[in-house]
């Protein structure tokens, strides 16, 4: 009866519930073979230590480790300077009114902090065990170096479009930067490859995964399997798609503005609640860290042992903070600065906040509350951990999930559109076509099962890193020059804090 009322309330013609619920299965069955094919191609794995190791994970983490060494552990050396830049210590008053470092970081973070932090971490722990947490933190720390190099390049090679707006990101540094290195054809190929994958990533991880997990949490807090919404993923997706459509097609910026303002506070609230839960279970600290450290090196009952835990930790960290993927460079490139290095330095904070702080909080809550072995996964596991402490926390989590999902969708619709426009031009018709496709994928994502959605989402996001990281390797000497020049100026006092200059 409730299902009928739901449908009637939305003005839908009355149809028996099983017929509506069947739409979810139909969509899932239609898309799953395609998403499986894409995922198996991207996640080509080789057997290592008795488990399958996806080469793409090694590609991402290997690159992050190389960048870390190449730039002399920049993520640790420049951490304090990054905070100084965000505080505005080096911002000149005459630049007021331009995009500040804080604004670029906050906007990039609202695109990054999404369900990867809540649901993705739970997936990693449910498959890889508690030990995945340690590898996730390590991958987050290494990822700071990848983010640094791509955001520095994003600013260095950004373009001012004829309409006066700023556009930047891997599409531009791959094509322009590699052309400067005498590799114009390779650069164009990589930029095109990146753009195709970015559109796929926007539709997958930036859209379907978000819609899917947001729906799962809504079902979860409204009664689980007995929820009147069970099987109505398409309907939830339709409502989400309409909201997204209002903003990206209808141009109702007020919704986007409100979202941008609420998300940071929601993130702080999320971390605050996580702290509260950890504090309530503080007596478990020895046992919990034993689980994490023991699980990282000699886990029991985890497929693939320590390597299995490592793969899950690395995979979910990369999926969450997107370091090496190239997406953040699109957001960071709008900052007006004469020194591209400054934005690279600021962007180091992104994987730190996203993975080392927020993802770790999720992982600790799941481990401390002891719900890891209850057979759940994804957002349901995180919700169970929150609910284990205070019964109404899952409702706050549901609100956070919806907001994070929505803001991540808006950010990725922008990233996808930029890549789409790079391929098809800046025309309004092409842009609206992409936006329409984006909205349709919200419905598809909410209707599908988690498995195919997560595989497709991961595959497309990681595919972006294939092209991006090739470009980063070729362009890293360019960034090195920028970094050395900038830090030499800083050391000599040519660049100094504004208060000290006055």
């Amino acid at each position: 009866m409730k299902k009928m009322l739901c449908a009637a309330a939305l003005g839908l013609p009355f149809t028996p519930a099983p017929a509506f619920a069947g739409i979810d299965d139909t969509i899932n069955n239609a898309i799953a073979p395609f998403s499986n094919a894409v995922a198996s191609a991207i996640f080509y794995s080789v057997p290592i230590a008795g488990t399958q190791f996806p080469l793409i994970v090694g590609w991402l983490v290997g690159a992050a480790a190389i960048f870390t060494v190449y730039f002399g552990f920049i993520q640790f050396r420049a951490f304090g300077h990054a905070i100084s830049l965000v505080k505005g210590d080096y911002s000149h008053p005459e630049d007021a009114g331009e995009v500040s470092h804080f604004q670029a970081l906050a906007t990039a973070l609202s695109g990054t902090v999404g369900l990867g932090n809540i649901a993705g971490v739970a997936v990693a722990l449910s498959i890889g065990g508690a030990g995945a947490t340690l590898w996730m933190i390590l991958a987050g720390l290494l990822g700071m170096a990848s983010k640094f190099i791509e955001c520095t390049l994003g600013v260095k090679y950004r373009k001012e479009l004829p309409d006066g707006t700023i556009s930047g990101g891997p599409m531009y540094y791959l094509s322009i930067g590699l052309a400067e290195k005498g590799k114009a054809r390779l650069g164009q190929f990589l930029a095109l490859f990146f753009s195709i994958c970015c559109v796929g990533g926007a539709l997958g991880g930036g859209n379907m995964f978000q819609a899917n997990q947001a729906f799962q949490q809504v079902v979860n807090v409204t009664g689980g399997d007995a929820s009147p919404l069970t099987g109505f993923g398409w309907l939830f997706g339709l409502v989400m798609a309409m909201l997204v459509g209002f903003v990206i097609i209808g141009g109702i910026k007020s919704i986007a503005r409100v979202t941008e303002k609420i998300v940071p506070f929601m993130a702080i609230l999320y971390v605050g609640i996580a702290f509260f839960i950890i504090a309530q279970n503080f007596s478990n600290i020895g046992w919990a860290f034993g689980q994490i450290i023991g699980g990282a090196f000699s886990p029991e009952g985890i497929a693939g042992g320590a390597v299995g835990a490592l793969i899950q930790g690395f995979k979910r960290a990369a999926f969450s903070n997107e370091a090496g993927v190239g997406s953040a460079a699109i957001a960071h490139s709008a900052v007006i600065t004469n020194e591209p290095t400054t934005e690279g330095v600021v962007s180091l904070l992104e994987p730190f906040i996203d993975t080392v702080v927020i993802c770790t909080m999720t992982a600790l809550v799941i481990i401390f509350t002891g719900v890891l072995d209850n057979g759940l996964t994804g957002v349901e596991l995180t919700s169970a951990a929150f609910g284990a402490q205070v019964s109404f926390f899952p409702y706050i989590l549901a609100l956070a999930v919806l907001l994070f999902a929505f803001s991540t969708m808006l950010s990725w619709s922008y990233y996808g559109l930029k890549a789409w426009s790079y391929m098809f031009g800046e025309g309004q018709v092409a842009a609206n076509l992409f936006k329409l496709i984006f909205c349709i994928f919200v419905v598809i994502g909410a209707s599908m099962n988690l498995g195919p959605v997560i595989d497709f989402s991961d595959a497309m996001i990681f595919a972006m890193a294939l092209a991006n990281i090739v470009g980063l390797y070729i362009l890293m000497p360019v960034v090195k020059q920028e970094v050395e020049r900038y830090f030499a100026k800083l050391k000599s006092g040519e660049i100094r804090k504004v208060a000290a200059t006055a």
Binding site: G88, S91, P93, A96, G97, E98, V99, S100, F102, Q103, A104, A106, T107, S110, G111, E160, D163, G164, T165, I166, S167, K253, A256, R257, E260, K261, P264, A331, A334, I336, L410, S411, Y414, Y415
Partner: protein, 143 residues
């Protein structure tokens, strides 16, 4: 006697009244009238992706528009024999006026009273209240 009269000017009737009073006094005292137009801005506000991309362009447009508002008034004052200069700044109006006043030293501030428009202004007070409370130089609020 003050050397400079800082006038908050934003094209409203209230700011015109402040400019008129300051100009009248300047004619008798020989002080300079410094028109200041503040574009409210915080480096710590949250912007959407589109706003990030458009910010540089919008800033150029905002500066151009502000210039078109302030420049004719400064020229008119100069034509009437008043030494007039102008400045356009981004930031919080209260902070900017205090900063300019501290920099100039021997000066006064003239602003027009607009009345509280938003709930926040009603509860916390508008620019006039802020300046009266924190300004390092005398403030004239023109009704």
């Amino acid at each position: 006697m003050s050397d400079t009269y800082i006038v908050g000017f934003d094209e409203t009737d209230a700011s015109h009244r402040a400019a008129t009073l300051a100009a009248g006094l300047a004619r008798t005292t020989g002080a300079r009238v410094h028109l200041v137009h503040v574009l409210e801005w915080s480096a710590y506000s949250f912007l959407t992706q589109d706003e990030l991309a458009e910010r540089h362009k919008r800033r150029e447009e905002e500066l151009k528009r502000a210039e078109s508002v302030v420049a004719p008034v400064a020229e008119a004052l100069a034509a009437n024999g008043v030494q007039a200069t102008s400045e356009i700044r981004y930031g919080h109006a209260g902070e900017i006026f205090c900063e300019i006043a501290e920099k100039l030293g021997n000066c006064q501030i003239f602003i027009g009273r607009k009345g509280s428009r938003t709930l926040a202004e009603r509860l916390l007070g508008g620019l006039a209240i802020t300046l009266v409370q924190v300004s390092p130089v005398p403030v004239t609020v023109v009704p």
